[in-house]
Each structure stands twice: as C-alpha cells, then as structure tokens.
C-alpha cells in the first residue's frame, strides 16, 4: 500500500518533476520506489561537482541534503498522485546524522528513507545513503512542508 491516497504513478520519475529544487541544489536524480511509508531515490555525483573537495571527496553535508530531498521527492510523488504540485519542504531538525566513510566522486548513490512519524505538516524520517549496497551515511531528519496557499 502506498503512503498517498491517490493513483499509483509509474516509477522511476525524474526528481525535477517532484521537487522545487533546481541545479545546482537539485542533488537527487530519480525517485525509484515509493510505498509502505518508504521511498528510494538515486543520486549520481561527478568528480566535477561543486560538492567535492580535495581529491574528489564528497562534502559531508551533501549526504544530509540527499536524504532530505528523497523525503521531499516522496512527498512530491504523493502530491502528484493526488494531482497537486510539488511543495517546498524545509529541514527543521537533524538527529543522529552520522557519516562513517569518506566517499569519493564519481559515485552512484542509493538513498532510502522511511517515515517514522507524521503530524500535520511535520514529518520525521530516518534515511540511509548506500554506496555499492554499503551504508555510508544515516540520519533522522524532521521536515516541515510548506502548506499549499489557498
């Protein structure tokens, strides 16, 4: 069962269709899966990305953003399924963010998020970033979603 009440849309969907973010701040590429309170997205980071430092090391904060954008893409998917557009979402809290490995670009990442609590416009979710099926970063993030204007 999907999180939303609307129709099921064909996946994958380009992140641009689901998020208000635009390059260079659009960091995820596609929403791959959505259902049962979970969402999976992909992100590819090139060695020339502005989010790289030194010898192509990916900035630690990049991983927080891809987790948050995966959640936002899931919300965008739900909105699209209910025939409303993407909404702006803002990180309002981060707990237990942990980056346990240095990742070098180029890299293809898979991000999974699971909603653990939802209250009105607030959502709490846990997210994990995988590189070659190996977890490299995780976080619990609280997101506030901007309500639609009447």
């Amino acid at each position: 069962m999907n999180q939303h009440d609307g129709k099921k849309l064909k996946l994958p969907i380009a992140a641009k269709a689901l998020l208000k973010h635009r390059p260079p701040m659009l960091l995820i590429d596609q929403l791959l899966d959505r259902g049962n309170g979970r969402a999976t997205a992909s992100a590819e980071i090139s060695a020339t990305s502005i989010f790289c430092i030194g010898k192509n090391s990916v900035l630690p904060e990049y991983f927080i953003e891809v987790i948050a954008q995966t959640m936002a893409a899931a919300n965008g998917y739900d909105g699209l399924a209910k025939q409303s557009g993407p909404k702006a979402g803002f990180i309002v809290g981060i707990d237990a963010f942990s980056l346990d490995a240095q990742v070098s670009a180029p890299a293809e990442l898979i991000i999974t998020v699971t909603t653990t609590m939802e209250f009105g416009t607030m959502k709490v979710m846990t997210g994990e970033v995988l590189l070659d099926s190996r977890p490299v970063a995780s976080a619990e993030i609280k997101v506030w979603e901007q309500p639609e204007r009447e």
Partner: protein
Amino acid sequence: MTHSFEEAIAACIGTVETTKAGDDCLQVQASASFPESFIGFAGHFPKAPVLPAIVQLATVRLLVERAVQQHLKDERFSRTKFRGMVGPAEDIFLQLKIDGTTDGWQGKFKITSGAMTPISSGNFAFTTVSA
C-alpha cells in the same frame, strides 16, 4: 572560475574570534553573510531563495576546522534544530563551544540573526584526520 561549494561558503564567513577556554576547550564567535549571488541560493528555491540548512552545518564544520587547525572527518550532528530561515545578505552570528576528545572534537553551536533571533542550534562531533 568555478568555486566549490565549500570555497563559496568560506568566502562568506566574516570576522572570526577564537578564544581558549581551558585545556582542549575553545570558544568561537563568528559572523557570516551570504550574498544573493551565493551558489547555495541558486535553485533553493527559484524566486524564493532560502539558505539551505546544510550550509549552516558546513559553516560550523569550517569554523571548527579553522579553530583546531586540523582536517576533520566522520561528521556527526545531533539535537540540531532549525528555527528560522536565512535569506540573501542577512547577517548571521555563530557561537561554538569546542571540546577535545580522544580522537577528535565535539561541541555545541548556536546561530542567531542580527536581532539575536535563534536560527539554529545543535551538537557536533568530528574525528581528526590522521596525518
């Protein structure tokens, strides 16, 4: 010339004052202002620029690196709360308390606006990169 995201953030940091507050304990006070042309505002969001939360966290990390004069890895943030939004050219003020640990540094940060309105706060921990 293309700047990295980190270089762009570093260029927006203004005054930085670091004081020693005991053995392996440092306090940092700094200011920062991100102009409308700052790369983090581009696409976040079109026609409604808001400073990404990750920029605030990256600024904290950069200030810790400057204060302890070491490169850091294995970043951890906890109990981090974002209470206010920051727009282009707004002055923000950062206060950090940094304590040494056996393998790195940990501490707390607080970011406020010019009117001392809380913007964000939280705890951090970093491991020092071995030489």
